[in-house]
Symmetry: C2
Subunit: 334 residues, 2 copies
């Protein structure tokens, strides 16, 4: 049978366990021009909140009764598609289910078998997380050697990669994360020069000054909110801010208030720019090639954590927002 | 005698008449390596508020008892400097006074005698106002033909130039200004496709939708505040925002609150960037050459208004903030 996680009702804010249900249907078969993937890993990520909320986003929200949209990685077990063969590994938008049918358009990338780069990495450091870090840092907020680069949610799949690319570029990398285990990850595993626990350090401004005595040149923003306000106050002239996510803001309806940024940006001749990794889709190969080399050379470390079995899926997004994960969260199917 | 306007006391916010005093001293003479300018026009501009306030800005505030810092334009009447000759016209940071001594470092540009381009234009459309519009639009928020460009304080010396450059670039130019006389200037003299009176149009969002039915691609921001909030809500994907000034915000101490911008910038993959025209100082010549051709060709119109006599100076900045000027405000000396 094919177990599938359906969206049962539409949440406001973070989707909880009760917004999903698991159903079983027969394993699908491929028609002409299609293939069937047996998923080995399902992704769980903060952006999924937006995919199920009713308010406008990049794409239409997941419909009630539909399989939860998600990235997944697996092996092709049946194919009637000329370009895809049984046994090939692929990563794509296959949804929270054991088996998915695709005509190829939902594929993000093929994944070569390489003992050093397991299939799961295609959903993390060698997937959209790594690619997001790569283009967000190097194209949207390019750092120069010697500059100070600050990233929020620094222990996360994107943030940890941003910090390590910053180090490769010769920068001082400073991470902001919540809780000592994440701060320790940043320092000890990901090699940040400094990591700040925003939950423990009451005065984030002070902690940032200590960590970046010469000011902040690049900020990779995954949070918005008071964390970003503290960072923006310490930008250097010519600073660049890449806006990647707004994890710390519970709701944008209505738009919450914060300190106006115009004066900072003006006096510092600084730039804030939002970006969406999908806009770089034609260049994913370039990022994956470079990131793969860095991972193989040991210059980029990554952490993954697995929830075993599809039964863990319905509560998995809420868990992310509870901050309970250490490393890229994936659901591992047997 | 040399009449000079001194800063008498430090204002909080907009400087008023009582913060200045006029004194008379002997006309200065040049030492070796210096020359004396007799000013014909003194500039009055919103940025002067920042130059006299105590809070941090681009440069040190004007000291109490010092001549008010300002741009001015005049003719060299004495020279012991090898590069400057008597009779030459120059524009520079000569201060609110009849005569100024310079060693050349305070000169922004020389002004050739051209009956089509009077000296006063060196303080407006062919001075830092025009140069600000030129680089701010074309370099910081470059528009593509067919796009919608919105500018605030659109009837002003910078805004009117932005709108006209946008038209030259093949864009739809939409101005926001306060009051019918300014709106009429935008439409009838500066050729904006549409002009919105933010004071009369209660629902600025509605007015912007009517003026930009296909959304806003470029915003040249001279105001910050609720005007900018309304514009930011209607940005298109890939929009560019150049932050040039914050005229609508009375004080930045403490930083006022406004709707957070991160979500807009993220969903629209949009960019906000502050800039300072002084950072382009090595390229002023390029801007002046181009702007001069456009003015001579009748493609850029400008308006100047003169306050006669240095006695008008002390109240002139406050008058700008009262919104009483129509056109680039200059003090004309006899």
């Amino acid at each position: 049978m094919n177990r599938r996680v359906l969206l049962k009702s539409r949440p406001v804010g973070v989707p909880q366990k009760e917004h999903f249900e698991i159903v079983e249907t027969p394993v699908p078969t491929a028609r002409e021009g299609e293939f069937v993937v047996r998923n080995a890993f399902l992704a769980v990520e903060p952006a999924m909140r937006g995919w199920v909320n009713a308010v406008g986003n990049y794409s239409e929200p997941v419909g009630i009764g539909e399989v939860m949209r998600s990235f997944a990685a697996g092996e092709i077990v049946e194919s009637r598609h000329p370009d895809y063969s049984v046994g090939e590994q692929v990563m794509g938008m296959f949804g929270w289910q054991d088996h998915a049918v695709s005509d190829g358009r939902s594929v993000v990338r093929r994944v070569a078998r390489d003992p050093d780069l397991p299939l799961s990495t295609s959903l993390g450091v060698l997937g959209l997380n790594g690619i997001t870090a790569y283009f967000g840092l190097l194209e949207v907020a390019p750092p120069k050697s010697g500059e100070a680069v600050v990233v929020s949610t620094a222990a996360g799949a994107v943030g940890s990669c941003v910090g390590q690319i910053a180090k490769i570029m010769g920068c001082r990398a400073v991470g902001i994360a919540g809780g000592q285990p994440k701060v320790a990850l940043c320092r000890d595993v990901f090699g940040f020069d400094a990591a700040i626990d925003y939950k423990a350090d009451g005065d984030l401004g002070r902690a940032l000054k200590d960590a970046c005595p010469a000011g902040i040149d690049v900020y990779f923003d995954n949070t918005s909110g008071p964390i970003s306000d503290a960072v923006l106050g310490q930008l250097n002239v010519g600073a660049r801010v890449a806006i990647c996510g707004t994890a710390s803001v519970a709701s944008w309806d209505p738009v919450p208030l914060g300190p106006r940024v115009e004066r900072h940006l003006l006096v510092k001749r600084a730039r804030m720019q939002g970006f969406l990794v999908l806009d770089y889709s034609r260049r994913y190969g370039e990022a994956i090639d470079q990131l793969s080399r860095w991972v193989k050379d040991g210059r980029i470390a990554y952490r993954e954590e697995y929830l075993d079995g599809i039964e863990a899926a319905p509560d998995a997004i809420a868990g992310l927002y509870r901050g309970e994960n250490l490393g890229r969260r994936l659901i591992r199917l047997s």
